[in-house]
């Protein structure tokens, strides 16, 4: 019904939004603006996925990336109260030289992939009872047959992430960690077991409480 022009127009619109927002992520000095721009990028990418008939991936892009991962980003920025990125000297000078090289390498890779991909549209009307491309059903069928091992491995990955995030978050709070560092310095024995300064820290805490 709708011929190519309107599809191309929509694609150009969505792609322009994605690129513009992506530039904003880098150029904004305020981290919360960067995070919000990244959310817009994610949503625009979902739009391009949708244009490629990848309906399920498009919704997942929004639910997982824009909806869940970015909530964490925004929370951390708000929690830590990160102010405008301070203008500081780049400590590692050679990174400035490496960055353009990496960029050129990535660009070359993208061009290579783009050229090697066939331009024919994915099969829309499938024969037989195979579910259509990009639908929830087709993803589900593939995930529980061909990609079974990555699927089960994901559960272990999530488990590791749970433990890891907990370990990071359960580290002692900033002031406590600093006190701990001082106690280690005072003792002058860097090789002492971690239990000792921790015990001392508890003592100090009790002193303060008393």
């Amino acid at each position: 019904m709708f011929e190519l022009p309107i599809q191309q127009l929509i694609f150009l619109f969505v792609a322009a939004v994605a690129v513009f927002a992506a530039f904003n992520v880098i150029l904004q000095r305020n981290p919360i603006y960067s995070a919000l721009a990244l959310i817009i990028t994610m949503c625009a990418l979902a739009g391009t996925f949708l244009m490629l008939e990848a309906q399920f991936v498009a919704t997942m892009q929004v639910i997982v990336y824009a909806g869940a991962v970015m909530v964490l980003f925004v929370f951390v920025i708000m929690l830590l109260n990160v102010r405008t990125e301070e203008a500081r000297q780049d400590r590692v000078k050679y990174l400035k030289l490496v960055a353009p090289l990496l960029f050129i390498a990535l660009l070359g890779e993208v061009i290579f992939v783009a050229r090697s991909v066939t331009t024919t549209a994915p099969p829309l009307a499938t024969t037989g009872n195979e579910p259509a491309f990009g639908t929830v059903e087709s993803i589900g069928e593939a995930m529980f047959s061909s990609y079974l091992f990555p699927f089960e491995a994901t559960s272990v990955l999530i488990l590791m992430a749970m433990v890891g995030s907990l370990v990071l978050a359960r580290r002692r709070t900033m002031s406590e960690a600093e006190t701990l560092g001082k106690l280690i310095e005072e003792s002058g024995k860097p090789q002492l077991t971690p239990a000792e300064p921790v015990a001392k820290l508890e003592e100090k805490k009790e002193e303060i409480a008393a």
């Binding site: 008939e53 869940a68 909530v71 708000m78 929690l79 929830v136 059903e137 994901t154 995030s165």
Partner: protein, 124 residues
């Protein structure tokens, strides 16, 4: 793809409506600003300190756990959809077992996180 076109239409339509509202709010209301009016509300007294303070790490943990369990839910959705009418190459008990293995691994994580007190909001 035409069944997805309304998404774009409704997006532009509502965006137009919302921006119109902003403009209307600016044009219709009067503007007579005073110092007290433009202050953040703090029960009538002058605000003390900045509002942007650091908050409990629990909020961060909640967001982290949300991501992890949300990813789990994302895997459950396509599984649930295909479970009723599987194609010939998959057998239902097998798909059932696959998901139960997945869930049991995550259940271990859930119990670990619970035991470590992530959900104890009123402690610490």
């Amino acid at each position: 793809m035409k069944e997805y076109l309304p998404i774009l239409v409704v997006f532009l339509f509502v965006l137009g409506f919302a921006v119109t509202n902003l403009v209307l709010a600016h044009l219709l209301g009067r503007h007579r600003n005073t110092r007290a009016k433009l202050m953040p509300y703090e029960c009538g007294i002058d605000p003390v300190g900045s509002a942007h303070q650091r908050f409990s790490v629990r909020f961060y943990l909640v967001a982290m756990m949300f991501i992890l369990f949300d990813i789990e839910a994302v895997f459950l959705l396509p599984w649930a959809v295909i479970f009723r009418s599987l194609s010939e190459k998959l057998s239902r008990p097998f798909v059932y077992a696959e998901m139960m293995v997945f869930l049991i691994v995550l259940l271990v994580g859930y119990i670990y996180v619970w035991k470590k007190g992530v959900f104890e909001w009123n402690r610490g």
